[in-house]
């Protein structure tokens, strides 16, 4: 393949105004120029910028619009977008760490989250990842994500445990 075959979009996908509409059954429709399309949201930066850069795509995953910030949308569309992404960007918010002890090949974390206590495992050499906003992101072996929002605000014991995992 040569580069001249790469399709170039005629106009920037996000340029024309649009709005979102939600059905009784929960389906969300993307309305622009009188046409309506079923729409799904993909987060471009699910870890670092979960509140910005939403890629709205139709059922075949073609991009309909790229929302850099929801501020430019009308109130209803913004609320719909917020509701659509609240779950998909959800990660377990850790409020306290009870222990993080090594087991064979695994580190077993016992934590409290805002939704209740949970136990999970990471690989021994898998380290929590510091994010630009100062929070700490952990990913367990099943793929679930956990976030310590403000590590320095945790209780003494949690901070003692986290000390080895933070800069």
């Amino acid at each position: 393949m040569t580069s001249s075959h790469t399709p170039v979009p005629a106009a920037h996908a996000g340029s024309a105004p649009f709005r979102l509409r939600r059905d009784k059954d929960g389906t969300v429709w993307f309305c622009r120029d009188g046409a309506e399309t079923r729409v799904n949201v993909h987060l471009c930066f699910p870890w670092t910028q979960p509140e910005r850069f939403f890629s709205l795509r139709d059922e075949d995953k073609n991009e309909l619009a790229l929302v850099e910030s929801p501020d430019g949308l009308d109130a209803e569309s913004r609320a719909i977008l917020e509701a659509m992404t609240a779950e998909s960007r959800f990660v377990f918010p850790i409020t306290a760490i009870e222990s993080a002890d090594p087991d064979f090949e695994l580190r077993v974390w016992k934590v409290r989250t805002r939704g209740g206590p949970r136990q999970f495992q990471t690989k021994l050499d898998d380290w929590p990842r510091p994010l630009p906003d100062g929070s700490l992101l952990l990913r367990d072996i099943a793929g679930d994500l956990y976030r310590v929002e403000q590590p320095e605000q945790l209780d003494v014991k949690s901070r003692r445990i986290l000390w080895a995992f933070m800069d």
Binding site: D23, K24, D25, F90, D103, T113, G115, W163, A164, F165
Partner: protein, 763 residues
């Protein structure tokens, strides 16, 4: 077929121990659900563990013969505990995946409010996937398979943990015990070594005692004039002789002990290595594709090596140090109970301090380890990617990045050094405080008006005091070593405990000469239970036929030949070779008669000749050269400076893809297989080379059953029949021209597309 499916109990144990969620659906909940939907059994279930407010919850989702149930075990009263939905009412189960929370919406008709919603975390993904798969099959009216709800649920939840750890959920003591079991064949050696070690330790307690004795029984009485010079010397010489004998015994015992245990350690390490390697060869390819090569290799090499430490030093050293401490305590209390207690009572405290220090150090090591891997990450990033670094002129950025990380890791090392350099003098201070205390309490008793302690006893005490420190230090050092050896042992046992999932029957049919009659009878296959890869394939191939397999990427072609070679067993249906079910034949004898040329052929480290003769080590050189000629490889081999003796493989001469393919074709020709499998044997080579390989193959295919996979359809012109595979189904079969006649056939489409491409790019 999956290695984890053989041990449902272990999966349940893992779920219980590591996830804190129930390992099976509680019986009363199951009963409750079955009553609620009118009697049928729960066929599959999974846990939805997140509620609409994104809090953790426990909601069971179960599928039965004609209903789906949602059962909330932690009920807040907003919904009835159990809700039942008729499968007939469910038209769609839509998943909205998220980072950690996936929502499932069950709906009846588009435009109407959803019937129900539930949410689950990634941990439940596999179990839930199996359930939704079954649900969708039901919605589409498919036939249900066999149902083992408990097994599938526990297997699904435990899988990520087993992939990371794959272990016997055992504890440290059990592992150490099992490791010691490997000493059994060497029982006498062990006893000898241990006896020598014990004697060595006990004898070591004698010299300080003799010193005290000499002072009290010889020197003092002589100086006080109570003993004649003659008898004093006599006793002195006997004592000197005794001392010499003690040291002699001690050193002899040390020699026996070190030698026995060091050799024993090697014995055990060798036994483990052999066991491991033998066992690895019993495991199927499934095991190897689920593990990293490096991790398997290190189990056989470095992990077994650490076991040597454990046997040669760990076991002995720790038990001896314990013995030594107890011995010292007894001797001291026996010599003088007051001073004895003064010295032995603080020992547990000392040990505790060492333990505490170790814990604190562990956190520091962890931190240093993390920073260290940050540093090595830079290396493993930039060195393979050095060309990109240079192309973007990022040398100074990379140097700075490395320098910064190097500095932070060094800071951590400084912290560690500060800690231990402060700790040991502190500990010594404590020990010396004990010494001072002994002086403080002992001297008034020696020089009092009525002395209750002799000078000799006092001196012995001081000498014993010096001996206290060493075993305590050993405890400090050994705990890390022991921990590491136990972890190594764990990794080794983990492999040994993996049950082979493809085993031959007790008395298999031995196919002495395969005719090459291959029949697939409605074969189903899945690498993991959720997504079937082959969905019912049937065909019959006669001996000597050449069959071409074509189809889009990922359609299941390689899977079909993997099944023919019996790398896996089918999950449903059967495969017959010469009328025998493959599960009943002797797989060793059978595989000897199969030749495979793979897309990315593997050459072992060794000469080209060794590689051609792999599996036929006793073939003559003439035959090997003949095979190379037939494979069109002879020419390029002779052009190499070292000819057939050129060393190839990982650390040897690098051959191009086409050259490697021709060598592996030569290997197959020499092998003279009855069934030949060619998986894209001519994929990434130029047309000239392809023509050469093609000629070689043409020579090879005659007189045997051949399965050939090719993306370039032109390669398959010789095939007597073509099978078109698409999404796990055999959608078309026939000769090239028959297939072209179907106006909108899959083959025809592929063919037209390739011709167009060819015309577009051919110059």
């Amino acid at each position: 077929m999956n290695s984890s499916s053989s041990s449902p109990d272990r999966n349940r144990e893992i779920v219980r121990r590591y996830t804190g969620q129930p390992a099976t659906m509680p019986a009363e909940i199951r009963r409750h659900i079955e009553t609620a939907w009118g009697g049928g059994p729960v066929q599959l279930y999974a846990l939805a563990d997140i509620d609409p407010a994104l809090k953790l919850t426990e909601e069971w989702v179960a599928v039965g013969p004609d209903s789906l149930a949602l059962y909330r075990s932690k009920n807040d009263g907003s919904n009835p505990a159990v809700r039942i939905f008729a499968l007939a009412d469910i038209a769609d189960a839509k998943e909205t995946p998220g980072l950690s929370c996936t929502r499932v919406t069950l709906s009846n008709r588009p435009g109407e409010p959803a019937l129900a919603e539930f949410r689950y975390s990634q941990r439940q993904r596999r179990a839930m996937g199996a359930l939704l798969f079954l649900l969708r099959q039901r919605i589409e009216g498919g036939i249900p398979g066999p149902h083992e709800p408990d097994r599938l649920y526990a297997e699904g939840v435990a899988k990520p943990i087993r992939e990371a750890q794959a272990s016997v959920a055992a504890n440290r003591a059990a592992i150490a015990w099992r490791l010691l079991g490997y000493l059994k064949p060497y029982r006498t050696q062990v006893i000898l070594g241990m006896v020598a070690a014990t004697v060595m330790t006990v004898v070591g307690l004698v010299p300080p005692y003799l010193t005290g004795y000499i002072i009290d029984a010889v020197i003092r009485p002589f100086q006080d004039g109570e003993l004649s010079q003659e008898s004093a010397l006599q006793v002195a010489f006997v004592t000197i002789g005794g001392l010499a004998a003690v040291f002699l015994t001690r050193e002899a015992m040390t020699w026996v002990r070190l030698r026995k245990m060091a050799v024993l350690g090697e014995h055990v390490a060798r036994d483990l290595r052999n066991d491991l390697y033998d066992h690895l060869h019993k495991l199927s390819v499934t095991y190897f594709s689920s593990k990293q090569t490096g991790s398997i290799i290190s189990r056989v090499s470095s992990d077994t090596d650490r076991i040597w430490d454990f046997i040669a030093f760990g076991v002995v050293e720790v038990s001896l140090s314990l013995l030594m401490l107890i011995g010292l305590g007894c001797v001291l209390i026996f010599l003088d109970w007051q001073l004895g207690l003064l010295m032995t009572l603080p020992v547990p405290f000392l040990l505790y301090m060492i333990y505490r220090n170790g814990r604190g150090m562990q956190r520091m090591f962890l931190r240093a380890w993390r920073k260290w891997s940050n540093l090595t990450d830079v290396l493993s990033d930039t060195i393979p990617g050095i060309r990109v670094v240079k192309a973007f002129n990022q040398e100074s950025y990379e140097k700075r990045r490395f320098g910064e990380r190097n500095a932070t890791v060094t800071d951590e090392f400084f912290r560690i050094h500060h800690r231990w350099t402060a700790f040991w003098p502190f500990l010594l201070l404590f020990v010396h405080a004990m010494t001072v205390a002994v002086w403080f309490f002992a001297l008034p008793r020696i020089v009092g008006s009525e002395p209750t302690l002799t000078a000799g006893t006092f001196v012995s005490f001081l000498l014993y005091l010096g001996m206290f420190f060493q075993p305590i230090e050993v405890f400090g050092q050994m705990s890390r070593m022991l921990n590491r050896s136990i972890s190594s042992a764990h990794r080794i046992f983990e492999v040994l405990d993996t049950e082979p999932d493809l085993t031959d029957k007790a008395d298999p049919v031995s196919l002495e000469r395969v005719r090459g009659d291959v029949v697939f009878d409605n074969v189903l296959f899945a690498y993991d239970p959720v997504s079937p890869v082959l969905k019912g394939i049937s065909f019959a191939v006669k001996p000597g036929e050449m069959v071409g397999l074509v189809g889009p990427s990922g359609s299941g072609k390689t899977t079909i030949i993997n099944l023919i070679a019996r790398f896996y067993d089918p999950t449903g249906g059967r495969i017959l070779v010469d009328g025998h079910d493959l599960r009943e034949v002797d797989s060793g004898r059978y595989r000897q008669q199969i030749g495979m040329v793979l897309q990315d052929p593997y050459l072992f480290h060794g000469s080209i000749l060794d590689n051609i003769r792999y599996g036929m080590q006793d073939a003559s050189v003439e035959k090997a050269v003949g095979a190379a000629r037939a494979a069109n490889a002879h020419d390029f081999i002779c052009k190499l400076a070292h000819g057939y003796d050129t060393i190839v493989g990982e650390r040897g001469h690098t051959l191009s893809g086409g050259e490697r393919q021709r060598i592996s074709i030569a290997r197959a020709i020499l092998h003279d297989p009855r069934i030949l499998i060619l998986d894209e044997a001519t994929s990434s080579v130029d047309t000239e080379t392809e023509r050469k390989i093609q000629e070689a193959l043409d020579r090879l295919v005659s007189g045997r059953t051949v399965f050939a996979i090719a993306h370039r359809l032109s390669t398959l012109t010789r095939a007597s029949r073509l099978f078109v595979v698409k999404e796990g189904l055999l959608v078309e079969q026939g000769t090239h021209s028959e297939l072209l006649e179907k106006p909108d056939g899959v083959y025809r489409k592929l063919h037209d597309m390739q011709r167009e491409l060819h015309e577009m790019y051919a110059v």
